[in-house]
């Protein structure tokens, strides 16, 4: 046996392990210099004070990477802009640290732990509900504010027993509101008498939207004729599409994420279902049309936080395109707005040394104008009251259809 060679290799591997452990220790030394990602601020030294550390806990890889990357672009844009203007509080700049949660709850806990260890004053993200759930306890224990740009589940800020999670905030409206908006749109604008719902039982998000759609739709005296379930990642929707087709609904509501819904829409059109198909903000990604095909996406609508062709967004859109060379989506806008919320709160709190003051400042932010419109945060629930938009796909292009205000 070639033991010498084996031994050398094993020693090498052990050395590698040791080096990795040491490297792990190395990252935990208190950052005298802001680590990585420090945006250039006109080349000059910060005027006064240490930088303000902000953590991004985002879905940079995994099944929801599209959301995380868009959100991250928006957040970076907001911080780069305020840094270029000289920062806040007499020249303190923002230093952002990015962490990937692989679109998974356990990894999100891990990412939050890392960020808390880097002494961040606030965490922006995660974008999806389950990943936020994995971070709540940790930020609460460590008095770090967490703002999720697009975690729409009601339970993130309000626990099941009705108590508030004081350290969790969000820049978006909650799930039930989206279902409500979609149902009202189906009733008023499309004049639907019957509806079918197909939702992803695996996702809490999808279940929440489906429930509120059904409640609102049935409250108006109309009927939901078919309720079909699937699991995220399913590729063959033909059986449930056949079931839906048999009940002949006026409209179909499919509130899951873009990859599943893209396939659903394509297969529904193949099966000859031409009725309008509605969705939630999980459709707000560039890939949806690519998956379903532009032709198939005609006569589909979805609820979103913001419409990119809204004239009031023109400035943001041009800045975003100049920075990243691509058009922003709803998640970039929400990422940008969550960063704006934090910047406003830091200014209002007058410092970052007292986490409780920062938290109180966010809670009492009052009327606040972000890119996605004017919103106000309810101190009781930490949910912002803001308007929603309906977008229509016309030959593969999202077109602003109408704006819906909270009732």
């Amino acid at each position: 046996m070639n033991s010498r060679k084996k031994r050398t290799l094993c020693t090498l591997m052990l050395l590698l392990c040791g080096a990795l452990i040491l490297a792990g220790c190395g990252t935990t030394t208190p950052p005298a210099q802001p680590s990585g990602n420090t945006p250039a601020a006109g080349g000059g030294e910060p005027a006064a004070g240490e930088p303000i550390n902000v953590g991004f806990n985002l879905e940079l890889t995994g099944s929801s990477a599209e959301f995380g990357l868009s959100g991250q672009n928006g957040m970076k844009l907001a911080f780069d802009k305020v840094n270029a203007e000289g920062g806040v509080l007499d020249g303190r700049l923002f230093n952002y640290i990015s962490a990937d949660n692989k679109s998974e709850a356990g990894e999100a806990t891990s990412a939050t732990t890392r960020l808390v260890g880097e002494n961040v004053v606030a965490i922006l993200g995660p974008m999806t509900t389950a990943a936020v759930l994995g971070s709540i306890q940790l930020v609460t224990d460590n008095s770090v504010v967490l703002i999720t740009p697009s975690g729409t589940n009601a339970r993130l800020t309000i626990n099941e027993d009705g108590t508030l999670n004081p350290w969790i905030f969000r820049a978006c409206f909650i799930d039930p509101f989206q279902g409500e908006v979609a149902a009202n749109f189906a009733l008023d604008a499309l004049g639907a008498q019957t509806a079918a719902i197909a939702y992803d039982i695996v996702g809490d998000y999808s279940v929440g939207l489906a429930e509120s759609f059904k409640t609102t739709f049935e409250a108006a005296g109309k009927t939901v004729v078919s309720e079909e379930r699937f699991s995220a990642g399913d590729t063959d929707f033909r059986p449930i599409i056949e079931n839906i087709k048999a009940t002949n609904p006026d409209v179909i509501f499919v509130p899951a994420y873009y990859n599943d819904d893209g396939r659903f829409v394509a297969q529904a059109r193949d099966a000859g279902l031409t009725v309008p198909i509605l969705g939630g903000d999980g459709w707000g990604s560039g890939d949806m049309v690519g998956i379903a095909g532009a032709e198939n996406m005609n006569n589909t609508y979805y609820v979103d936080f913001v419409s990119i062709d809204d004239p009031s967004l023109a400035e943001f859109v041009s800045e975003y395109e100049a920075a990243y060379g691509r058009a922003p989506d709803g998640f970039s806008v929400l990422g940008y707005d969550s960063a704006l919320m934090l910047i406003e709160a830091v200014k209002k709190a007058g410092g970052i040394e007292d986490p409780e003051a920062l938290r109180a400042a966010l809670e009492n932010l009052g009327e606040f104008t972000g890119v996605s419109g004017t919103m106000s945060i309810d101190p009781e629930t930490h949910n912002p009251a803001k308007s929603a938009v309906i977008l229509e796909f016309v030959d593969g292009v999202k077109v602003f259809k109408q704006k819906v205000d909270p009732k």
């Binding site: 033991s3 010498r4 084996k6 031994r7 290799l9 094993c10 020693t11 591997m13 590698l16 392990c17 990795l20 452990i21 490297a23 792990g24 220790c25 990252t27 935990t28 680590s35 990585g36 940079l60 890889t61 640290i97 990015s98 962490a99 990937d100 998974e104 709850a105 356990g106 806990t109 891990s110 990412a111 732990t113 890392r114 808390v116 260890g117 509900t129 389950a130 759930l133 994995g134 709540i136 306890q137 940790l138 589940n153 339970r155 039982i201 695996v202 996702g203 809490d204 279940v207 699991s231």
Partner: protein, 339 residues
């Protein structure tokens, strides 16, 4: 001789504990470092369990995360249901004293045992019918099992459904560390017992083993249940440390990750799978500051590994203490080291 060996291992283990404890106490290492420690311990226990099934008994199982989630949920529900009443009763009995904490700690350890036993039970139930299958068929059956567990958990509202089950953090790295060592000792002794040798004989040649009078189904089920038991224990530690138990955290990819750890470390090597689990977890966490490159680097390293060391870091051999064989024979120079 034997005792000196154990003593040295024990001293080394205690030394690692002491160093980390000191560093944590002084505050030199961060929370993230300690979390990494716990994750390493969890994955070592997972890898040990899978190594019993796949490495030593030769049964390809790709549903190990399923057992982990059963353990995590069993422990989580036990703690969530009984945690508050037990804590209240103990405080009433002894007041706010150290003995209360000790009693509660015992309760937490009990919850871990509940998780391990629940997983073992499912291992037994799954093993009895499926271990009559061989090779690919068993692999497919175990994938199916893992997915069934995930989907059932996702759809059971009482267990939190798609929102997951929030559990208070009550296991620290030290508990995870000692439980990991306990698992290592248990697996090492099992493998070196007559039961373990029976398992290895099944891996080497099932027909020959049967001819020699070994009840192959019995030993396969035994290894399977034991492996599931360790996965359940790891799941229990996960539940008590990670704040949230979510079905999607135990998907097919997690099962695959564990298999990668075992294959990377060396199928059929206890020290190998410890090394594999540690390397994979450390790489994942050390590369965390480079999210764009993390998964690519890990994948490239795996490809390189499989080209240059197709049998894993350790192959089927064990890491041994230097003096043991060196003193037995000095003929083959250096062969007593490392391997």
């Amino acid at each position: 001789m034997r005792w000196t060996k154990y003593l040295i291992w024990l001293t080394a283990a205690a030394a690692v504990y002491g160093i980390v404890y000191l560093l944590a106490h002084v505050g030199i290492v961060s929370r993230f470092f300690l979390l990494t420690m716990v994750q390493i311990c969890i994955y070592i226990i997972m890898a040990l369990g899978l190594n019993l099934i796949t490495g030593f008994t030769g049964q390809l199982s790709i549903g190990h995360a399923g057992f982990m989630s059963i353990g995590a949920y069993a422990t989580g529900i036990f703690v969530v249901t009984f945690g508050k009443p037990v804590s209240a009763a103990l405080t009433e009995l002894w007041g706010d004293r150290g003995v209360t904490d000790v009693a509660y700690y015992i309760f937490i350890l009990t919850s871990l045992a509940v998780g391990a036993l629940a997983a073992a039970l499912f291992g037994l139930l799954l093993g009895l019918p499926t271990l009559r299958l061989r090779g690919d068929y068993l692999a497919i059956a175990t994938i199916g099992f893992g997915e069934i567990v995930r989907i059932v958990l996702l759809n059971t509202k009482a267990l939190g459904g798609a929102s997951g089950l929030p559990v208070k953090q009550s296991v620290d790295w030290a508990t995870a560390y000692w439980l990991m060592l306990l698992s290592v000792v248990l697996v090492y002794n099992f493998v070196n017992s007559s039961h373990g040798r029976a398992c290895i004989s099944i891996r080497e040649n099932e027909i020959a083993a049967e001819t020699m009078g070994i009840n192959t189904t019995k030993y396969k089920v035994m290894a399977f249940a034991l492996g599931a038991c360790f996965a359940g224990l790891a799941g229990g530690i996960y539940a008590n440390h990670m704040y949230l138990v979510h079905p999607n955290s135990f998907g097919f990819l997690k099962s695959f990750e564990i298999l990668v750890m075992v294959v990377l470390g060396g199928l059929g090597s206890v020290t190998g799978c410890i090394l594999g689990a540690a390397v994979m977890t450390i790489m994942n966490n050390v590369l965390a500051p480079f999210p764009e490159l993390r998964m690519i680097i890990i994948s490239v390293l795996l490809v390189v590994m499989m080209i240059f060391r197709p049998n894993g870091l350790m192959g089927a051999t064990e890491l041994r203490l230097p003096f043991r064989r060196a003193s037995a024979t000095g003929a083959e120079e250096g062969s007593g080291h490392d391997l």
